[in-house]
Symmetry: C2
Subunit: 457 residues, 2 copies
Amino acid sequence: MSLDPVLAKIDADLEAATERLMTLLRIPSISTDPAYKADCDKAADLLVEDLKSIGFDASKRPTPGHPMVIGHAEGSGPHLMFYGHYDVQPVDPLELWDAPPFEPAVEDTPKGKVIRGRGSSDDKGQLMTFVEACRAWKAVHGSLPARISIFFEGEEESGSPSLVPFMKENAEELTADIALICDTGLFGDSTPAIVTRLRGLLGEEVTITGPNKDLHSGMYGGIARNPIRVLAKIIAGLHDETGRITVPGFYDGVEELPQEIAAQWEALGFSNADFLGEVGLSQPAGEDGRSGLEMIWSRPTCEVNGISGGYEGDGFKTVLPSKASAKISFRLVPGQDPLKLRDSFRAYVTSQLPPDCTVEFADHGASPASMMATDRAEFEKARQALSDEWPNAAAYVGCGGSIPIAGYFKDILGMDAMLIGFGKDDDQIHSPNEKYDLSSFHKGIRSWARVLAALSE
Amino acid sequence: MSLDPVLAKIDADLEAATERLMTLLRIPSISTDPAYKADCDKAADLLVEDLKSIGFDASKRPTPGHPMVIGHAEGSGPHLMFYGHYDVQPVDPLELWDAPPFEPAVEDTPKGKVIRGRGSSDDKGQLMTFVEACRAWKAVHGSLPARISIFFEGEEESGSPSLVPFMKENAEELTADIALICDTGLFGDSTPAIVTRLRGLLGEEVTITGPNKDLHSGMYGGIARNPIRVLAKIIAGLHDETGRITVPGFYDGVEELPQEIAAQWEALGFSNADFLGEVGLSQPAGEDGRSGLEMIWSRPTCEVNGISGGYEGDGFKTVLPSKASAKISFRLVPGQDPLKLRDSFRAYVTSQLPPDCTVEFADHGASPASMMATDRAEFEKARQALSDEWPNAAAYVGCGGSIPIAGYFKDILGMDAMLIGFGKDDDQIHSPNEKYDLSSFHKGIRSWARVLAALSE
């Protein structure tokens, strides 16, 4: 089946496609807030109807939380599973939005046209790129170039509580040859990217207790153990002078980046200065001797995400507090075992405690890093297809964040995944004034049309 | 004039004296809360009337805040100025009180009778020990054994904003031969104490800024500077391994304790284990090689009173924050210049900043340490008088906290002060269920009667 008329159809249909996305964006499907439960349901219904209109056998599938949307369409060639999510983040602080978050509009900006509104980029705009590509194929050729299944989740922004049970209960139905996930971004403004590695995440909350109650620092200062000082010292000791993490065994299993990948990343022309300059910084703060991309994509980290203790209000109180606590997270890379590292971290902190202090830990999740199966033929095919669409050749990139769905597909269904997306760094996802470039939407649809053609060959 | 009938009168009058204190305790004179302004006024009025009833020329003196109470009574012998404060701390958390804080009562406890209620110890009960001693002298002998002035403040618990201006405007009227201050405690349960040294206080708030906004730790973790980690490292570096403070010049001017004082303190039998055991600790955490009493009375300290940064709510957010801050205070000893140390501290913190970080400081006060003029004859006279009253001989002690009034008397009026008080460590001042031992009240009155006799000789 020929690709060119499909691309032409996509171009001709862009205004209508944008309108369809706007209809979806108008539904405030905020999954974390029970007040929007009916809206989540409505978004699922809309998607089911839309999928049916292009020939999918689609249905809304109940869960204890928000429903899943599942669709299947026959086709020759491989069986592809597409994943996206129709729920969105809350909108507060609402006063920082320049327009109501659920009244989307196409806006002209100095950088080009954008679709503004909550969910435009994360993830409604992205998931619709795939749906629109299917629609164009169907319109032009009467059929799809592959057997395609669709899996839209409605709880991605609220911790996906129903995802794993649903996947386990419907394992056979949800398993395809390979999964396609559209929830990531371009590299820079015009380099399409396939994410081939995701960092894992270990979250720990550490609470140090010294005295059994808050003390007056005049009466006790100097003689009594101060848990804030104890905590600060432990945090300060988590990295050595070269930026390496000091927890024993932390780097066990961490491998150096293969030469080939290192060369590819080098070729991307990533600028530390540009990347950091956007947020008011100039110098990379990670391990000595590592490139910026290594720091965010392929090296494990330890960060303090929050710290708290003593008097934090206005003014001053000379309290010597009983407790101090910190939220500490580790980004993990392939080869690291999150559960083993949790034990090592807890043992290390405990070993650093001075006399009279105790520590409590709270578990805030542990997920391993993922490495995609880039040796599968689909990766090179998709990379070529994306390179044909965009000004720059597509790149295999890393992702510093954690996208658990890819790991679940692999672990539960034994299915590899390919992460392709068209978001930009300035899309302001999770923040006020979220947007999706009209060019991301347009070229994203065209990209999927090309990828489908390539994978069906 | 003979002392014994005065002591007998005090014993006979104890129940009536306790009733008078209760009347004062029933007035909720919380100075920091504007809702209690009229109550502060009422407490001042009550004290003026009471002083008049025993022959003082007493008046309520307006200030921009709560009024001062000033009284003068003629007498032969030296001119003594007595200071106390009639305002009290707020009562929250109210739910932790076993009885309403302003419905005082005498309670039997396993350790003896106590007067329970806000202000019973700090400082209404204490100031009334002096008033009752004067009343007994007057009742028995028709006159006082010294020329006595009274100075009651109503803003001590809210930062004393009117104190210095009032003192300056009324310097002549407020200057006597020596001041007596009753706002401190016994040493242990039965050793009367004269405080001869008070630590000063330098309060600083440090805010470190790294990135210009909060970042996602997946996207930026590893490459971007984390201000919590920067702050933790700076705090950890403020003490060396021996517990000494590392700020350059910090110990300039700090002298070793004179052998004689060290021997006196040694003789007090202070137990680190007992003192720390009360608050769930066992080992002193101060400088190596220093005694517990040195740590709290004669050595300077640096403590973190509060720390804050990033996400501090329930659960977890993988934020890499823009800012982190800490409230840091130094207890100072004689010889240290607070303003010079502020500069040294700020320079030190600034010198520790890694690239891309900035720091802001907020000033939360700077007051020097005070050393009392223990070579004046009044000190030994008072010490003997107190020793006559209590089971143990009176001790010259230090005080880890900061009581600015003594320094103001010296600096503004050129008047030395003697700090004598009868509070106990378990009085729960500033906390729920504040109490004052009936024995502190009774023997406190007797103590002042004896001190007045001794000073008039």
